[in-house]
């Protein structure tokens, strides 16, 4: 049985100008020990779908799904109180901006111990010992001393390590990392990704990595899910995706990687992700797609079979060389 299973998840935000659909019929499955990357541009609904699962969206969001289960329990049916027993304990999340994700008024130690206090029956001394152990685990030097540090005394990389320590406090079975390295220096990015990878292997937890960096995906993930404008457009194991992307959007994303460029100018994807007012009637990617035909503009794209990476496309790419054009 899958650890996390989501079917046909949609999230709509009530805005002054009417409802805005940020996530549109997304499916997602994660098994114990899986590393899944969710890739997509800004506004493709990557974070929103995960926040919806954690119950962290503002009240303006309406969440609908055919299935949303974690470890066999239907998340939709949990009361707020029951859900709070799951999140932060079995399911934890770290965020994009580590510096602003820690509360400036409390010490690092307080914030880590708070997670322990909320979910585990440990006494003061045990919490203290576990907090030091966690700081050590995420590679923070002199953990005992750092426990009494305030967030403003830490660098971005250190803050993200603290966030990871906090998330791992109760040994979660699923860790969701929402662009954990976007706000960090390149050298620190690599360190944090290595740390996440190592921790995942050590603890055997499942990891969902939300990112828009294909390099991160290649290094860390086993499976990749590509999202565009709130829809899942493709899902493949990493090797397959990099070798033969089936959706033209994935192909275009990969072609835009500097490492793959064959011309002097980097190839780009013209246009922008459709917003609330210019959502196309047919395939959402059609206005920006080089392969789009009549049918793409008029009819919503079907989801292809597993052999074609579940690509949501009328004309899926099938040949590796076709993808690199």
């Amino acid at each position: 049985m899958a650890l996390l299973s989501i079917r046909n998840l949609s999230v709509e935000f009530a805005t002054a100008a009417g409802p805005f659909r940020a996530v549109d019929g997304v499916d997602l499955t994660v098994d114990q020990g899986d590393v899944l990357a969710i890739v997509g541009e800004s506004g493709s609904g990557k974070s929103v779908s995960m926040l919806a699962m954690m119950g962290l969206l503002p009240w303006t969001a309406t969440i609908t799904a055919d299935e949303m289960s974690f470890d066999g329990r239907d998340i939709r049916r949990l009361s707020a109180r029951e859900r709070r027993k799951v999140i932060g304990r079995d399911m934890a999340m770290i965020f994009q901006e580590p510096m602003s994700s820690l509360n400036p008024c409390f010490t690092v130690g307080f914030q880590i111990k708070e997670a322990l206090r909320q979910h585990l029956n440990l006494d003061r001394a045990q919490r203290h010992a576990r907090a030091i152990e966690l700081m050590d685990l995420v590679g923070i030097p002199a953990p005992e001393k750092r426990l009494s540090a305030f967030p403003h005394q830490l660098s971005g990389g250190m803050s993200q390590r603290v966030m990871i320590a906090m998330a791992l406090a109760c040994k979660p079975r699923l860790l969701i990392a929402d662009e954990p390295t976007t706000a960090l220096d390149v050298t620190i990015q690599a360190q944090i990704l290595d740390l996440l990878s190592d921790l995942q292997k050590e603890t055997g937890m499942a990891l969902i990595l939300i990112t828009h960096d294909m390099g991160v995906v290649a290094e860390t993930a086993q499976r990749v899910q590509v999202q565009y404008a709130g829809q899942k457009v493709e899902e493949q194991p990493v090797e397959g995706l990099f070798a033969t992307p089936h959706h033209p959007y994935t192909a275009a994303l990969l072609a835009a990687l500097p490492e793959r460029a064959t011309t002097r100018r980097l190839p780009t994807i013209p246009g922008v992700v459709p917003g609330q007012y210019d959502r196309p009637a047919g395939c959402l990617f059609a206005p920006r797609c080089a392969k789009a035909t009549e049918i793409c503009h008029s009819t919503r794209a079907p989801v292809q079979g597993a052999e074609l990476g579940l690509a949501r496309c009328h004309h899926p790419v099938t040949q590796p060389e076709e993808a690199t054009q």
Binding site: M54, G55, L56, R83, R84, K85, V86, I87, G88, R89, A92, M93, F95, E97, S100, S101, L102, N103, P104, C105, F106, E114, A115, Q118, H119, F150, H152, M163, M166, A167
Partner: protein
């Protein structure tokens, strides 16, 4: 922290000099003359007038007068009232405890009700509680204080006979001033019913005086909370599975307290200067009425000394506020 405290204390010096100068200059800039006012309707002969001017030293150059005043102040001599012939210092400290007692009670009411109201309004944004609390706050803020006070007196003193109309304690009780705080003195006196009488005298003026600060604190808490609630670290706190009470009441409120403490400090400062309307309506023997009376009498030493002491009190409140900032958010201490 010590350095922070010292640097804040250092800012006292220019403020102190500024207040001394302004209070000295302003009262003299007012038209009117203390000697004429003192003489009253009987008037004064030009010879006697000249004599008095010389006696009070008003014939000397203004800068010399200021220098005299300043050196006196630095030696702890605030001068003597023209009217009562008592030292300003003594008069102030006879009346200030009454003002302080009333201010403390008022601000406690304002904080105890205002902060929860603001938090509830923010967490129920746009819903019934938010609207109800914020419109009540707006009414409280815009209501004329004297009218509100009279209304309360009519209902609670006049119709229901729950509270006395004015004063600090019932005439039945008499005891010596120990602290100047009626609540404490009445307890110390050990007289039966004295404390209850002091409390019942304090209730209405405190409510009246608390009304505006309460509304301001509630509105400020709400807007600060709304800002903080959209911060990333609140999402982090929620992601830990913490209860809404802990997220709102601890993680959010502590960060939202900075602007709230600022308005509390400002309110306390205003209250300490004496609430003239409230003190007048309830015959509360505080410094507000004393100051106004001495301005009308052109009682230069009282106005100067009173302003200066009130200013010092306000500066102390500001210092406390600054120290609280550092305690609440350690980041501020570093600056």
């Amino acid at each position: 922290m010590l350095r922070y405290l010292l640097s804040k204390l250092l800012t006292f010096v220019p403020t102190f000099i500024g207040v001394t100068l302004i209070s000295f200059a302003f009262i003299r800039a007012l038209p009117g003359d203390p000697i004429i006012v003192m003489a009253g309707e009987r008037g004064v002969t030009p010879e006697r007038y000249k004599e008095l001017v010389e006696q009070f030293g008003y014939d000397r150059p203004i800068l010399v007068q200021f220098w005299d005043y300043l050196t006196g102040v630095l030696q702890g001599d605030l001068g003597t009232s023209f009217v009562t012939k008592k030292p300003v210092w003594n008069e102030f400290f006879a009346l200030f405890p009454a003002t302080l007692e009333l201010s403390i009670c008022a601000i406690i009411i304002a904080i105890a009700l205002g902060i929860p109201a603001g938090v509830i309004a923010a967490t129920h944004r746009g819903k019934f509680f938010d609207r109800a609390l914020m419109s009540t706050a707006l009414i409280g803020y815009s209501m004329p204080i004297f009218w509100w006070a009279l209304l309360l007196i009519i209902v609670f003193s006049g119709n229901l006979h729950w509270t006395p109309v004015s004063g600090r304690i019932d005439l039945l009780y008499y005891f010596k001033d120990v602290t100047g705080f009626m609540l404490i003195d009445s307890l110390l006196s050990g007289q039966k019913g004295a404390f209850a009488s002091a409390v019942s005298h304090l209730v209405l003026p405190s409510i009246v005086l608390a009304t505006i600060p309460l509304a301001v604190i509630a509105r400020q808490t709400r807007s600060a909370m709304l800002e903080v609630l959209s911060e990333d670290y609140i999402r982090t706190a929620r992601a830990k599975g913490l209860s809404p009470l802990r997220v709102n009441g601890l993680h959010a409120l502590r960060n939202a307290m900075i602007p709230v403490i600022t308005v509390i400090g400002l309110s306390v400062g205003t209250l300490l200067a004496g609430a003239i309307l409230t003190e007048t309506i309830f015959s509360w023997p505080g410094i507000g009425k004393w100051m106004v009376d001495s301005i009308f009498r052109r009682d230069y030493p009282v106005v100067q000394g009173g302003l200066l002491l009130v200013a010092v009190a306000v500066m102390v409140v500001n210092l406390v506020v600054d120290l609280l900032y550092g305690l609440i958010n350690p980041k501020i201490r570093k600056r």
